[in-house]
Symmetry: C2
Subunit: 228 residues, 2 copies
DNA sequence: TAGATTGTTAATCGATTAACAATC
DNA sequence: TAGATTGTTAATCGATTAACAATC
């Protein structure tokens, strides 16, 4: 490990991979393994072992040369790094189809996370509840955030209101947003906003299929034809 | 434009951005604009204009120097590139919470896409339908794919069965998979598989929040402490 | 033509990977 | 000690960006 305290910025893709490493470790642990090699763990995710080791190196040393990694120990380290040793309270903003679905989605109710409030602006919905979680009015967000200690907002409002809603969320003091609205949100630098854009992923598939199908001499399909 | 037919590989991030450009164009068109500058379009997505122009350059020339882009024309070009001028039939594999939610999700029923079949292996579910779409048994996938001309599979099965299911999907001739299972899938090279990992995105948020909270002298929080 | 903005090149930046020294 | 595998460095690869020539 380096001696000085100078810290390289950790790329976001690295953090994302940490979460995937952890998932594999937990599976292997359940299956009874105690130890794992960087090669095994990396292969499981179709990555290079050197990438795994580089990712871990941002945070310290977790293995034993010649031996590999103790699964329990590495998993615990990753949980700490990812902040999963504490509990985060989530508010889902926008109780439509997607919001309701996410509420019931396992991934959001895993260890470390808890949906603590639902928010909407539709008077028909406000006051009722879904899966036992109360729906509050967006105007009451600041109070709800304080009372329930909300730290994460999941934005599932329609595109046209997404930006205004994001601003309200930020003003309420929330520092982390998972944005499902198909609109680019640029919050102040202390706030992180992760876009989840299913519709765009789908269009990548469509593009790929189009490339496969198209006839003609060009092996890669529709890219930049040499006409002119 | 280059004269020879040699084509640079298009990065996947570029294709993803094309889909986002298109969304902005459609919004501007609805608002009555006829023309847009690379700077306006890029700003809307918090990108650099040069990136937008580079992205488009993979596919050809779509603007007029000094004038910008004709919105209708560029949008039409992007739709063609993304393969949205034709219709894609989707099968959702795994009719649990998430699968059912996606079925109702607007993004999946946009122009260009249509959920044509649901697939499960639970005899309780097979034979019934959801939102008017029939649920078929996974064993019948090959026939369903042929009959309904399915091109895209959305994988929403539980993690333990994800890999086996993906293999069945590939064997049935499907060339595009949107994978919601928290498992890495490496299909043969002609098949594209896009992972959607909401749980990992959430953990990136958690990591970020942990970095904000942690006390101590280090400005970036928990990264690699100088102990030792 | 002069002014503006694209399309394209080259420079920059950042992430991945191979290779190996450190060390169990 | 010899064999194995980590942690780390340096080389490679690929994507972003600034800058400008082309051209409307």
């Amino acid at each position: 490990m380096t001696e000085n305290g100078i810290q390289k910025r950790v790329p976001q893709v690295t953090v994302k991979r940490l979460s995937r490493y952890l998932r594999v470790l937990e599976r292997f642990q359940e299956e009874g393994s105690e130890t794992i090699l960087s090669e095994e763990l990396a292969n499981e995710l179709h990555l290079k072992p050197s990438q795994l080791r580089k990712d871990l190196a941002y945070f310290g040393e977790f293995g034993t040369r010649g031996m590999g990694y103790n699964i329990e120990r590495l998993a615990e380290a990753l949980r700490r790094i990812l902040g999963l040793h504490r509990q985060w309270a989530i508010a889902i903003i926008g109780v439509g189809n997607l919001g309701t679905a996410l509420l019931r989605y396992k991934g959001l109710n895993e260890k470390g996370f808890r949906v603590a409030a639902l928010i909407d602006d539709d008077p028909e919905k406000v006051g009722s509840s879904r899966s036992g979680i109360h729906i509050y009015h967006i105007d009451d967000l600041p109070e709800v955030v304080k009372e329930k200690n909300i730290q994460i907002a999941i934005l599932t409002v329609p595109a046209p209101s997404a930006r205004a809603t994001a601003e309200i969320v930020v003003k309420a003091g929330i520092k982390a947003i998972l944005n499902f609205a198909p609109v680019s949100i640029k919050p102040p630098p202390e706030v992180i906003c992760m876009p989840v854009d299913i519709s765009s992923e789908l269009k990548i598939l469509s593009h790929h299929l189009t490339g496969l199908e198209e006839p003609g001499d060009s092996p890669r399909g529709h890219e930049k034809s040499p006409v002119k």
